[in-house]
Symmetry: C2
Subunit: 276 residues, 2 copies
């Protein structure tokens, strides 16, 4: 693991690190905020998965999460959204290839060798984090924005013992029937739509749900509502009697200004689960 | 005035607007955060002047100021740092020309026709703001980072009735004797160093001071300490018995992570002056 940068931030440290990943077969970069409390011993960890086009950096500099994480003594990890590099396949569109890993393990050409983001987020990166930093593996929570909200919810439901709480900002809620989903799941996983189902938060909510509290925020003026499909996930949560809440926020769009506006609520929500 | 974008943000609106400026003779772009309270009537205004290489956008997305401004019901304006465009002179270096206006009125070739940032910040832009938005001209305060801290302090001292409070993050404190200053003041204002003196916060602190409270934060691990010269300004403040405080923050560098870490303190500091 290599240290790219470290900056003092809200009494803690905002670091950027890179490491060779077995899963993706390339160098991966991530941001990690450690609160001051990490100097004394392991602290809880909140995962933040980012959306289409983002690297590890966008949320790290634009979501304002460190202020609240520092207040709560929680670490934040900001993974990249795909493998990257010259030897890694890509596509001209913003919503496929580099910057658009969709948190799945690709089985199809040309994506398969590197686009293994599910294994990276659930296997490789946790190993690097818990081996190198003062982080408490028993106290993890997960959130994300847009494609990252999709990743956070599907991963949380698939690994029921790992995360105490899950939240999302404007998640891609029902990708198996959305323009943000059918294209990517088809490209990465192939034509058999049965393999897509574990990567659809609405389907997973119907089939298994999450064994902890869930918080979803969605902007009512989001320019991508037709692709995000919040109504499907909200209906699934209510049908399942899933503990949690789905909030429709008047006037907000899909931007980081929306994410930043409700970040304090999300960090407080996770803190309650992480410290209970 | 043209609306470039508007996003709901912390219950208010983060806007970006452009307008033709008489002072700079070109289109200028600025960011303006209006808290929810501006829907009911004029709110106080905090100016944030940015540093070298920045546009109106950097602090608007990276400083985390809207959270605290919304809490206090204060508007924030984020001006650009120079004139811009094809017809505007520039220099290959990051610290001269576009992105580096230094908040002065240039008298020298090739800068003079457009580089009139002092007049822009103190004349043109205030006119646009108070004519178009629910802002209370009687309740203004000013802050800034690095070159913007220099601008905030020198403008606040030159216009003693305009700002109730002034603060700065890692300001260029003594530019007439610094590598960040001598080059630019020479280029923009010419060889007569007497004309530079009103643009040096340390000299102005010695000669006139500020008729309100001042708050300065400086990172102790700032990579540009030799150019910023905080010791000169701190000595001048104490020699003058200037009400205020100069804080040296252990471990912090020159980045926006430093600015964001202390933004809550600065907004609270200004709120106290603006609401008293």
């Amino acid at each position: 693991m290599k240290t790219v940068s470290e900056n003092r931030c809200f009494g803690g440290t905002q670091g950027v690190y890179s490491h060779q990943s077995e899963a993706t077969g390339c160098d991966m970069t991530f941001g990690l905020f450690l609160p001051e409390e990490a100097e004394a011993g392991p602290v809880p960890l909140l995962w933040y998965l980012s959306g289409l086009t983002c690297t590890h950096e966008n949320a790290m500099v634009k979501a304002g999460a460190q202020a609240w994480a520092a207040q709560q003594g929680i670490a934040l990890v900001f993974p990249d959204t795909s493998p990257r590099g010259e030897g890694v396949a890509d596509d001209g569109a913003y919503d496929l290839g580099q910057g658009a890993g969709f948190y799945v393990n690709a089985t199809e050409t040309p994506w398969a060798p590197h686009f293994q983001m599910w294994d990276y987020i659930t296997g490789d990166l946790p190993r690097v984090l818990f081996n190198n930093f003062a982080l408490d593996e028993e106290r993890q929570a997960i959130t994300g924005h847009s494609m990252g909200g999709h990743g956070a919810l599907t991963i949380a439901m698939a690994l029921p013992d790992r995360f105490r709480s899950a939240s999302a900002f404007a998640p891609i809620a029902n990708p198996t029937v959305s323009d943000w989903g059918r294209k990517q799941l088809g490209a990465y996983l192939g034509a058999d739509e049965m393999t897509w189902r574990r990567h659809d938060a609405t389907i997973q909510m119907h089939e298994r749900g999450f064994d902890g509290p869930i918080l979803i925020d969605q902007g009512a003026d989001d320019q991508f509502l037709d692709k995000l499909m919040p109504e499907a996930l909200a209906a699934a949560m209510m049908a399942r009697r899933q503990p949690g809440q789905f909030r429709m926020q008047k006037g907000y769009d899909h931007s980081y200004f929306f994410v930043a506006s409700f970040m304090e609520d999300h960090v407080s929500f996770h803190a309650e689960a992480l410290y209970s």
